[in-house]
């Protein structure tokens, strides 16, 4: 008996041999990628490889870890001194880093810039979103001093716009006139969208007939990551897509029948392994020029603050329903994407959006270039940071909180008369957050993450 007990204890001795921070990162990655790894281990492996490319990619792939750090006991990130229960129920973008903004063409043809990724939305503390934006700006700048100044500009603009909204002022969308860099982006998006750039890329026409261009639209990267690969879908997946389109078309009765379907791999970092399909639909006429191209994308849970008393279920029917509803609430124009919709196929929650080139994401390489450019270019970047901050203030301030009041009403009292302290707090926290991201990336960039995170399905 004693021998058996000794054997039992020897068997159980699993003394942790990883450092605390390493454990935390691996646990978070394992939880985030569990379902994807079980379904598609190779794509999950590529996602982790993509995350290891650099601190910015690491930031993009670890939103969940970021929020865990802000919320859980023993947090590796300091708490903000600007918060209370009311301002902890603000509707958040969830992952407002600089590349998660882009151009849109609203229903009336207005071109604008707004947040474009709502996968992680949910109710939470407004400072969390600001810190995420700030960390993104610091990492994109690749210079701590410039980064800190960008955070200062963003936080200052945020505080100003919150005060304006709380005073009753309505903040409109960011238009081309706001900034020369954004004007260029809008011009490119508008021009490309008008000539069906995305549609022709996905399904080029030959002799008046469209067909999907399967294969790699961009070369596979040296690290093996697919940058933009288009593959056929199985009959089962085609059926999912058709059912999703059927649900979506209930709110878009003018849309035609499904013509073509394909799976697309390569976009995003956090959602790299998610299902992402391109679907070509017949337009109003039989001509191929008015065909539509949609993206149908799998959506998962967003930010959930644990430990707060709440109903056991969310207020939305599915993650995609949440993403769509919150996009409309957080954007300056609820019709910024007239084709926006959602569907539920079995347990697969799908978000549908216009895939045409009117929607064009901002690229952080451009921000990095401005940061390393001339004094004038750095000043431009500062103005851009202020626009980011204002855009976040507008999103938070003009959407209703979980308690049903305007976000600005919940946030403004905390900032009133303390603007300078608030900006200092944000600069301090966001630069520390960025340092943590950079340190995490340095800790993990050489490891075989897939083998560590998903050992039972490792190839």
């Amino acid at each position: 008996m004693r021998t058996a007990v000794v054997v039992l204890f020897v068997a159980s001795c699993a003394a942790p041999d990883l450092a605390g921070r390493e454990q935390r990162i691996l646990t978070s990655l394992a939880d985030d990628n569990y379902v994807w790894a079980a379904r598609d281990p190779e794509l999950t492996r590529l996602k982790l490889v993509k995350m290891q490319r650099g601190p910015y990619e690491w930031l993009r792939g670890t939103a969940s870890l970021f929020w865990r750090d802000l919320m859980e006991p023993g947090a590796d990130r300091s708490a903000s001194s600007f918060g209370d229960p009311a301002s902890s129920r603000v509707l958040l973008v969830g992952d407002p880093h600089p590349e998660n903004a882009g151009t849109f063409r609203a229903a009336d043809g207005t071109m604008l810039v707004d947040w474009n990724d709502f996968d992680s939305t949910g109710y939470g503390p407004f400072t969390g979103d600001l810190r995420r934006l700030g960390a993104g700006l610091v990492i994109a700048a690749e210079d701590a001093a410039i980064g800190a100044e960008l955070v200062r500009r963003a936080a200052t603009a945020y505080a100003q716009q919150i005060a304006m909204i709380a005073a009753g002022q309505k903040i409109g969308p960011v238009l081309a006139s706001a900034h020369a860099f954004l004007a260029d982006e809008i011009d490119t998006a508008s021009t490309r969208g008008a000539r069906n750039f995305a549609l022709d890329e996905v399904a080029p026409a030959t002799a008046g007939v469209r067909a999907i261009a399967f294969g790699d639209l961009e070369a596979v990267a040296p690290d093996g990551v697919f940058e933009d690969r288009v593959t056929p879908v199985s009959p089962e997946v085609a059926d999912w897509i058709d059912r999703a389109i059927a649900q979506w078309s209930g709110s878009h009765p003018d849309a035609g029948a499904v013509k073509l379907r394909a799976r697309r791999v390569g976009s995003g970092v956090s959602s790299y392994a998610a299902y992402r399909f391109n679907v070509v639909l017949d337009g109003p006429t039989s001509a191929i020029d008015d065909d539509l191209v949609l993206e149908v994308k799998e959506t998962r849970e967003g930010v959930i603050i644990r430990g707060l008393p709440r109903f056991s279920a969310a207020e939305w029917d599915s993650p995609a329903a949440r993403s769509v509803a919150t996009q409309r609430r957080l954007q300056a124009r609820p019709d910024a994407d007239p084709l926006l919709g959602h569907a539920l196929v079995g347990a697969l929650s799908l978000k549908l959006r216009n895939r045409e080139a009117f929607q064009r994401g901002l690229n952080r390489d451009d921000l990095t270039a401005l940061a390393s450019g001339t004094t004038a270019e750095r000043a431009q970047l500062g103005d851009l940071a202020a626009i980011y901050g204002g855009m976040l203030a507008r999103a938070h301030g003009q959407a209703l909180t979980e308690d049903g009041v305007l976000g600005a009403i919940a946030i403004a009292p905390l900032l009133a008369g303390r603007d300078a302290a608030f900006v200092d707090d944000l600069v301090s926290l966001a630069t520390a957050d960025a340092a943590q991201v950079i340190a995490d990336h340095a800790l993990m960039k050489e490891l075989d993450l897939f083998a560590l995170v998903i050992p039972e399905v490792a190839p």
């Binding site: 959930i304 008393p309 056991s312 347990a347 995170v453």
Partner: protein
Amino acid sequence: MIRPIAWLATLVASTSIAFAQPAPDSEPRSAAEATDVVEPPVEPATSEPAAPAASSLAPAPEVIVTPPAPLPLFAPWSTARLALELELVSHARYASMAGSNLSEIRLDRGELGAQIALGPHAAAELRLEAIRSALEGGALGIDGDSMVVRVRFANVAGAVVMGPVTLDGALGFVPDPWLRTLDDGYTLRPLSRSGTERLLGWLPSDLAAVVRASVGPARLSISVGNGEGQRYPERNTGKTTTAVAEVVAVNQRTLRLSFAAVGRDGSIGVARVRDRRAGGGATLATPWVQAGVEVIKAWGIGDRGDAEGVELGGWADGRIVDHLHVAARGASLGFTAGGRVSTFGGALAVEPWRDSARGRYRIWLAVDRITSSGAAMPLPGADSGDATVAMLIVSAVAPFVLD
């Protein structure tokens, strides 16, 4: 390679003792319950023969006094061919908190257990529980966020008696031995899970082998399992070992007092986050009052291997008059690095009907208060998540035994 081999050796070694298991839930959860110690003591005068009248000329009849059967120290092994148990707890809640208050009706717990005897020394047990399919606060559930049924316990169990030693155990999804010990006689589960389970996230069952040996008033339980509970299959090569030692210090019809100590060493998840615990507790049962205390030191909490803390908990359930109970409970977890989460509550309960063989139900009017501070706040520096929840609770336990 040492650990897998050692684990394999453990499994092989344990096959001879694997068919052992705590008495199923359909059986009394404790010796106290087995002897109906919660019932008021019967007045001795009514059970004794009347003394012969002094003036009687007839010889007094001989009085034969049969000594009462000794009270079992631990719940006995069930030999029933089939034992079923249905346990339900429904809440109507009103939460008062910062921001919008909440009101909702929820099925807090729904469990159905079955045990079928496989001869006199073995049995198969399956216990199912109803849970919400989506993550708490999430939207990704099954057919919306439907109630779904999952396995809570599923094991083959057995027991053998070798002189003064009783060995029992099980292999499969088995109840955690420490929570089982705490819940033995814990009558306030409809109000709240024990502090260990609620604040430390101690998992109620695991894929494991458990062995128990009892001698006289002492019992030792050892469980070796994955450590991942119901949510995941094994995710690392280490195993989690839990040892519980119990001693019944007093075992009378009017007083039962037991003490227990627990130690655990193991790891959770791919990162092998440590899951190390040490602590103890005591349980008291009298016809009118039942109570318990627990204290646990934790190294590694949740997914944080570096977090440490001490959890303290206590509860009392008293019958003030027939069918009317008053209860109080509390638990608090303090983190070594700062911060504390606490829950306190109480209730008045009516127990309109109770039959030790056929079940019982209670209607509770209860209140539960949760507070937190420092780094233990859900949103440190911003929101402590403090709330007071008033609840109307209906709980029922309905066993069915076929011998």
